[in-house]
Symmetry: C2
Subunit: 146 residues, 2 copies
């Protein structure tokens, strides 16, 4: 497996081990990870720290010229908020672990010229399937549904 998707999955597993939602993300610039993160709704009581947002936060302040050469890896199809951050910073390429358990704003991203690749990775799918069965209320809270 691509080492960067492996790193994103490792972040998701770290989140799970902390009792959180198992979604992870890394941001890669010039073949190096500049930001990594995982969903922190449970751990930090945060409604905004999805995996992708946590990776952006941990990458810190970067110039537009850096963001425009980055690839973002995420274990799950990015929701509206995370897709909005991707559009704000004009990240050109997103590698998505899977979109079978949840599909975010992929059509919007594509229309705006973002390149998407969906791996349908069995480990990513299993992590989310197990989590949704175990904690449906927490999952619904995270995606803003009842």
């Amino acid at each position: 497996m691509d080492k960067f998707m492996r790193a994103a999955i490792d972040e998701a597993i770290k989140g799970k081990e902390e009792g959180g939602i198992p979604i992870g993300s890394v941001i890669v610039y010039q073949n190096e990870i500049i930001g990594r993160g995982h969903n922190r709704r449970v751990q930090s009581g945060s409604p905004i720290l999805h995996g992708e947002m946590d990776a952006f936060e941990n990458a810190g302040r970067r110039s537009a010229s850096v963001y425009r050469q980055c690839t973002l890896y995420t274990t799950l199809s990015p929701c509206s908020m995370c897709s909005g951050a991707i559009l704000l910073y004009e990240i050109p390429k997103i590698i998505i672990g899977e979109n079978q358990t949840f599909i975010g704003e992929e059509q919007l991203l594509k229309r705006r010229g973002v390149e998407l690749e969906v791996l349908q990775d069995p480990e990513c799918i299993q992590l989310m399937q197990d989590f949704i069965i175990e904690s449906p209320e927490l999952w619904n809270e995270d995606i803003g549904t009842e």
Copy 2:
């Protein structure tokens, strides 16, 4: 002036006084502010804590049924990221201080059924005009442009 837009402007002024970007926001539920915030790019070195995002963060974890009855007040037209958070949590109504110095994802929000009201408030416009003249590089960083 509406007391909630006044509170959002007060947040923007607080941000300015801290040496930050003067954009503020409050989230109102049943006629009470449940979250308030301002842009913290400078103060926290954060690329994700725009005014609206900081207000979401400070509102903490809320159920979908609460978000769907909220109004978000923001001193400036919301960017892609903040608009994405608004869509994720299905905030039905946004009151915008001004969209003369920057226009965000208003068309997308409208297409998705969000009600928008733009006040073109002179104080909001002045805050941003002064800031953009004083700190153009910081402003460009915040909106992901060169």
